[in-house]
Each structure stands twice: as structure tokens, then as C-alpha cells.
Amino acid sequence: MSAQTGAIVGRRRLIELLNAGELRVLPSPPNDRIGNGTIDLSLGSIFLSAERSSVESIPAQDPARAEVAFREARLRQKGTIVIQPHQFVLAATLEYLVVPNELGGLIQSRSTFGRMGLISATAAYVHPGYKGCPTLELVNAGEVAITVGPGDRICQFILLTAGWVESHSSRYQLATRPSVPTRLHRWAK
């Protein structure tokens, strides 16, 4: 890949990469979901919603304890979930990404959802060589509840060329569903 580092990957190039299997987005996005430098991604079916619970607080030094503060919801294909005003929900993309070492990117809310108040709290960084369904940290920043469901085109993957080629193992590698912060596994140290 000879493109300049950090450059946005154009639509034609994206389609070439997808057709060649160098970049995989599974299930494959229909053509109308591929833009200039972006691929629309949709919501998966599993959600972890933060609940008011008996947990006093989550110590930042021990993020694994966050698990007790979340409640899991698994939706069938046509199911929906209501995200209340100011509620924080972890979700994951339906699409499983297999990113080559020469590409990286960011996950960003789509503006349609952003304008309704639903935002991906942090622009998730997808590192080169990533395999998995990125976790989305959704917050309803508006004053009205928002209903979403599996398959909703909620965010976009902005692809950038990377200037290094290095395989990288991560504790979140091969994730297929949202996950709360975890302790570092031995092999990821």
C-alpha cells in the first residue's frame, strides 16, 4: 500500500480491498453503505446497560469490577432497546472487522443519530490488524428516550492508511460482543 500515512481511503480503493479480501467487513456491506473513506456499520444484538445498583463505585484501578454495574440484554433480530436520557449503554457493531496491518481507523456516530442525541461517547480507535466487533460506548445525551435495535446503521468506520506494518495482539482481539473493562490477561501484557 503506497498511499500517504494517515490518508483517508477512497471509496474505489475500499471496494477493491473488500473484493480482494484484504479488508473484511462481515457481513459484507451493501454498496450503498460504502462512502468515501467510510463504511456504515450497524448495531449488534447484545447490549450492556449501566444500571443504578448497590455498587458504591467502580475503582478506576480495578476496572473488572465494572461488570456488576451492567445488565445484559440480548435482542432477537427484530427486537429493540430503549436508551433513556443520559443512559450509558455498551453495544458492539454487528459487523466483524478484519483490518489489515496497513490500515487503521476510527468509529464515529452517524450524524443522523448524533442529532437525535445518541452519540458514541468516544471515537473508538480501530488499530491496524484488528479483528473483532468494536465496542460502542453509547450515551443518549438528549432529553427524550431513543429506541434502537439490531441492524440500525448507527455509526461509520473511517479508514485511514497506517504507516507501519506490525501485528499487534490485544485483550479485546476477536471480540464479538460488547465487553466491560477487563483485567489484563497474561498474554496481552
Binding site: 479480501g21 473484511r24 462481515l26 457481513p27 459484507s28 451493501p30 444484538s45 445484559e72 440484554a73 440480548r74 435482542l75 432477537r76 433480530q77 427484530k78 427486537g79 429493540t80 432497546i81 454487528l94 466483524y96 478484519v98 479483528k131 466487533c133 441492524g151 495482539s169 482481539q173 476477536l174 464479538t176 460482543r177 490477561h185 498474554w187 496481552a188
Partner: protein, 446 residues
Amino acid sequence: MWSAEQRRRALAERLFHLSATVNSAKGAQQELTEGLSELIRRLDRLVPGLITDFDARWQRIDSAAMPAAVAERLKSELCKEIEDLVAEVGPLMLRVVAGGESTAVPVEIETCLQRQVDQAAPRWNWTSILYASPEYNYSVERIPDPQQVLGHTAGTIPRTRRDLVAFSLPRPERDAIGLHAVLLGHEVGHVRDWFLRVTETHRLVIPKGWRSQPDRLGIFLDWGESWISEVVADIFACLTMGPVALLALPELMMKAAELNLDSETHPSPARRIELMVRVLRHRGYGRLPTLKPILDSYADLSRMAWTRAIELPDELPQSTTLYAECGNAVVPEVARTLQLLERRCRQLLPRASLASPSSWPDVLHASDLLTQGIPCGEDVKHLPVDVVTILNAAWFVKVARLQDFGPTLALTDPNASTEDLGTLNAKLDLLALKSIEISEVLRGRV
């Protein structure tokens, strides 16, 4: 005194709780499986209808001119009728409703399971319901249709009505692909058996002299029929799912039983493994170089299993020797008919439902993807890969290629620790489940 009034009060309480359970489930519609939603919709129409009908009939008795004793008798009969209806529908319904929220089951495979059930019993138009059991228990059960049981009060039955079939599974195993293989293979195999009437039309040869001994005869027939139905479900599982029917079986069985331990309902895991190896070899899987050593090792594990005497768990009343005697009569009788049953199942099964060794290259390709940490639910033409290929591929990786999968998670030696091994298997399960989800999404698009 247990008067009609007392019975009515107790019944009202029971109906109130049934109604409250339905309402509570209805309030969480979004978190129910498709099948359970259908059941709740039906109960929601029926329970209020039943209560209204009961009241109307009670009041008719009250307002009619008749001696008090006759009114009391009629009211008692009315109560008994409704008590019987509730008793028939209630317990299983509540079990299903309690375990049927989508968080408790592998909701990702629900549409796939429904499709398998539709193929297994094409004209029966069944709705399948997945529900979680608190025990290590896999089963399939026909649910009495509430519309038929309670529907005498609810007017005509809608034309869209589908009968119900409930699949139970252990909640902790909901993400384990062994479970999915058992559900789609063995449990759907029972549905195929009910539809194709293999067990129903099979005649056991009764040992000489036992016809005049009702105790022996009863146990022998119940036991024999149960074993035949399990054997038939295993045969259908092998024929429709291929090797995964066998590969997933032992470790699920081992949680509940020893290799050679029989029960009144199921032959021992060893007997089932021997049968499955035989069926798979007859289908030609034994000639595939990648599978031959695996099938050979399972054959060694279960060699001569059908010649072994019965071995029963301690809790059965073996002291009378009656059970052991009956079991030892069942073993040779079932063993004698295995080939016949296999032939019948193969003949009855539509060709399109048969798994074939000619598809094994697809399985190997899918297993290559999995070892690289890539879901295998979509093929190179962007079409959905069928669930049989996905499950076979995942199990093939588990049994033969875990070493190749380890490095994807930076685990060069997956056997280094039990924790690593568990993590690796769980990741593989989720990758297979994701593959099924991808395949189902693509199928939905088509």
C-alpha cells in the same frame, strides 16, 4: 371444608398468578424470544377469556332455580374442568415463560432452529421456543397448544395458528456451540422422528414368556421405546449434521454420565458413540483423511459397547433385579435393529437434508478462517454459509486444530494452562456463534 366456593377461591388465585406472569412477560416483550412472544400473545388472549367464561357459567348456575345440592355439584364440576385445564397448561407454560427471556438462551440461533424444525416437520407448521433450564438438561417437548386446551372459551382458532415445540437447554451453556449442535442435531432429530413416525411404527420383539408378566412387559416396552427414540434421534443427527453430531456429543454427555452408564431413557454415551461412528462411516466420512483418525479414536473408545451388559445408576431400584433384567433384554433387542433403523431413517430423509462428505472441503475452508480468527458465516460470493458447515468447522478446530487457533490470541501453547484452554474454547464458540449470526443476516437480506 372443600366446597365449590373454596375451590373457586383457590382457582381464582391460580388464574391470577398465571395472568400476572403473562402480563409481566408481556411488559418485557423486547427481551423475549420470537417463540415465547408467540406463546405470550396466545396466553394473553386466552387467560382473560377463560376467566370471563368461568364467571359467566358460575353466575348461570347461581341464577338458575335448582336445589342447593345440585348447584353445589355443578359448581364443583365446573371448577374441576377449569382446574384440569390449568393443570395441563400451567406447569410447562410457567417453566417455559420463566426461562424464555432472550438473555437466557442463544437467541442468535432461533431463526436457524425454526428453519430446521420447519424442514423436519414440513406440514406441521410448528413454532419452536427456546427456554433455559436450571439443570444440565437438553430436551424437546411438544407443548399443549393453549388455544386447544383453553380455547373452548376463546372462539375460533385463527388460521395462522402454529403448534408449539419447546427446546430446553442449560442456561450456563447458552453460548457453547456443543449445545447448538445438540439442539439442531439430536433434539431436532426427535422432531423428525415424530413427523416420520420411525419410533412410533417400530415394533419391539418381546422376550419369550414376558407377555404374561405385566410388570416386566411394561418396563421393557417403556424402556425399549425410549431407547429406540434416542437412537433414532442420534441417527438423524448424524445424517443431517455430519460429524459434529458425534464430536459435540461426548463432552456434553460426560457432564451428566459416565461413559458406560445407561439410564432408562438413554443408552450409555459409549453405545451412542459407537452407533454414531458406524452411521458416519456408512456415509463415507471414514474415508476422509482428516476425519479418519478422529473416527478411529472414537471407535476405539466405544468398541463393543452394544455387547456390554446394562450398567445403571445407583438410584434405580436394582435390588429387585427387575430393572437390570429388563435393561439386559432391551440392549440386544435395540442392538439387533440398529442397522434397520439407520436404513429406514436414511430412506425417509429428503436428499436435501442429508449432510455429505462431499461438502467436507467447505468445512475445512471454514475451519481455516476460524483458526485465523475470522468468522466463517459468509462465503467468497458473499452468500450465507449453512449452519451445518459452521458447526462442523468449529468442532473440527476444537478437536484437531486448536494449536493453529491459539496464536491468533497470542497463545502459542493453548494447553499451557486450563484457564488459557478455556478462554480459547470460549472465544472459538463466540466466533462460531458470530458466524451463524452473519449467515442469518445474509439469509435475511436474500
